[in-house]
């Protein structure tokens, strides 16, 4: 009875959960890329600041501190409600990439657990760039036999949507700026 109640509480959509609790057995891997008709430095300049996520169409604003140093934290506020607390794991300005993790998730925003992500800009030759955004995470539902909106497929679909939406918007923004 108590166990059922506990599980029921876990289902509340706006519960902020700590990372690294028991999770599903299979970690998911998602990678999305985009080619942009601009030099890598120009593309990197748009995304380089961990505390400026305004290039993503779903982001309302970010608040954080720590600059672009390992351990810096940012709260990402999503348009329409919801927020995520993220921590910068590594930052490589010369390599044009950084890696971060969600340390307080929100099932309404992204039905995932133990989520880490890396974004990088590479030279694709001919004045073009390739941006790769990849993530590693477990599904939102921490226990066995998950409901459809918090299973592995839902997690993968949500992450793909975030990356695709962001990368497509980044391309338009950089190429549009001329």
């Amino acid at each position: 009875m108590l166990r059922t109640l506990a599980l029921g509480l876990l289902m509340l959509p706006l519960v902020m959960m700590n990372v690294a609790n028991a999770h599903g057995p299979t970690r998911q891997k998602v990678t999305e890329t985009v080619e942009i008709n601009a030099a890598p430095d120009k593309v990197w300049a748009v995304i380089a600041d961990f505390h400026d996520f305004s290039w993503h169409p779903a982001v309302e604003k970010t608040e954080g501190d720590g600059g672009n140093k390992e351990g810096a934290k940012r709260t990402v506020f999503i348009k329409g409600g919801g927020q995520l607390l993220e921590e910068l794991l590594s930052y490589d300005a010369a390599g044009r990439n950084f890696k971060y993790a969600i340390i307080e998730t929100d099932m309404k925003v992204l039905p995932v657990n133990n989520y880490s992500s890396a974004i990088m800009v590479e030279d694709a030759g001919d004045g073009k760039s390739k941006v790769t955004w990849r993530g590693a995470f477990y599904r939102g539902y921490m226990n066995n036999d998950p409901p459809a909106d918090q299973d592995d497929a839902a997690a993968v679909k949500a992450a793909k949507g975030v990356y695709r939406g962001g990368l497509d918007a980044l391309k338009k923004k950089v190429e549009g700026a001329g």
Partner: protein
């Protein structure tokens, strides 16, 4: 009639003696007796499926690739993938039978234990085990299989011959890594969400003590002497070194971010740091980290080979198996393996 060219293709110029020398070189021989047996068996047959015959198991890694749903076989001499077997159910954990002829793989999404004939490279049995079979270990003397159930919070004990579950041992929350002491007397379980290691008497199957360790212990490794155990603590980013006889912590060593598992070789502990993309090397004389090696992204399963000269690590995100030289502490080779390699447990033959 013994034909060198059939035994080892391409060996014609070297003749019979050359072929036999090659056979003994590529197939690590466990003893003189097995070497002699290998030679006699080679002479007796004209065609062999491989140069390595029974009693002289080739040194290979069995890598569980969770996303690809495969177990691949990697020859450790050449560091090449030589074959693979399909294992539906998102395979993760692995342990080998004492004779190394069988591999036991956990497929948590299917809630099954998968038994693989290693020489034939075939799945021979699949059996339902609980709700979240993940960590797995095999008793070195009687071959019993211990499967940690992540969701049911217990260890299933499976008979090696009948493959029937004969009992369950209740432990702490979300048991992950499981290991058996070399003398076969105790089974240890890293109870991840209880932040402890449970010590189980292997004969009575009673938990005789619990040892508090760091936060969220996942991988668990016991040393060859059976005196110490090591846990990789995912949340506290450190390794707990346990004195098994005393049931106390000898040291807690900070390592990289989100450590997964520990391998032991050359008086050193090699720890995979998932988020840092590194392997932290601890000198066991001082219990201090002496080197942090850069490896592929999301390093997870790690183990020392039987020579103790090399440690192999599976990098889940980069899809590689990487070889670390224990003396020089460098990554000296890597090979691409199927998607999502975890190799959680005892995966080197």
């Amino acid at each position: 009639m013994f034909r060198a060219d059939i035994l080892v293709p391409g060996m014609e110029p070297y003749g019979r003696v050359g072929a036999l020398l090659l056979v003994t070189r590529v197939c690590p021989m466990r003893s003189t007796a097995s070497a002699i047996a290998a030679v006699l068996l080679s002479l007796a047959s004209t065609i062999l499926p491989s140069p390595c015959v029974a009693g002289a198991a080739p040194a290979e890694a069995l890598v569980t690739s969770q996303l690809a749903e495969k177990v691949s076989f990697v020859d450790l001499e050449t560091l090449q993938v030589t074959g693979e077997v399909s294992v539906p159910g998102k395979p993760a954990g692995i342990a080998l039978a004492p004779d190394r002829a069988r591999a036991y793989v956990t497929a948590p999404e299917a809630k099954e234990l998968v038994v693989i004939d290693v020489d034939a490279r075939k799945v021979v049995r699949r059996l339902h085990v609980g709700n979240g079979p993940l960590g797995i270990a095999v008793h070195p003397l009687d071959g019993r299989i211990f499967v940690a159930d992540w969701y049911d919070h217990r260890i299933a004990v499976i008979d090696a011959g009948t493959l029937a579950i004969t009992s369950y041992v209740k432990v702490g929350e979300s048991p992950s890594g499981v290991a058996v002491t070399p003398d076969g007397r105790f089974v240890l379980s890293a109870d991840r969400d209880s932040h402890q290691v449970s010590v189980i008497d292997a004969a009575t199957l009673v938990v005789v003590k619990t040892v508090p360790v760091g936060k969220r212990p996942f991988g668990l490794t016991i040393d060859a002497s059976g005196r110490r155990a090591y846990t990789a603590n995912v949340k506290s980013d450190d390794v707990s070194i346990i004195d098994l006889a005393a049931g106390t912590i000898l040291a807690t060593v900070p390592v990289g971010k989100r450590p997964y598992a520990v391998a032991l070789a050359g008086g050193r502990a090699f720890v995979t740091d998932q988020y840092s993309q590194t392997v932290s090397v601890i000198d066991l004389a001082t219990n201090a980290v002496i080197r942090t090696l850069k490896v592929g992204a999301y390093p997870e399963g790690i183990a020392a080979d039987r020579t103790g000269r090399f440690v192999y690590v599976a990098c889940w995100e980069d899809n590689t198996l990487e070889r670390i030289d224990v003396d020089s502490l460098e990554v000296t080779a890597r090979v691409t393996v199927p998607d999502g390699p975890r190799a959680f447990g005892d995966f080197l033959r």
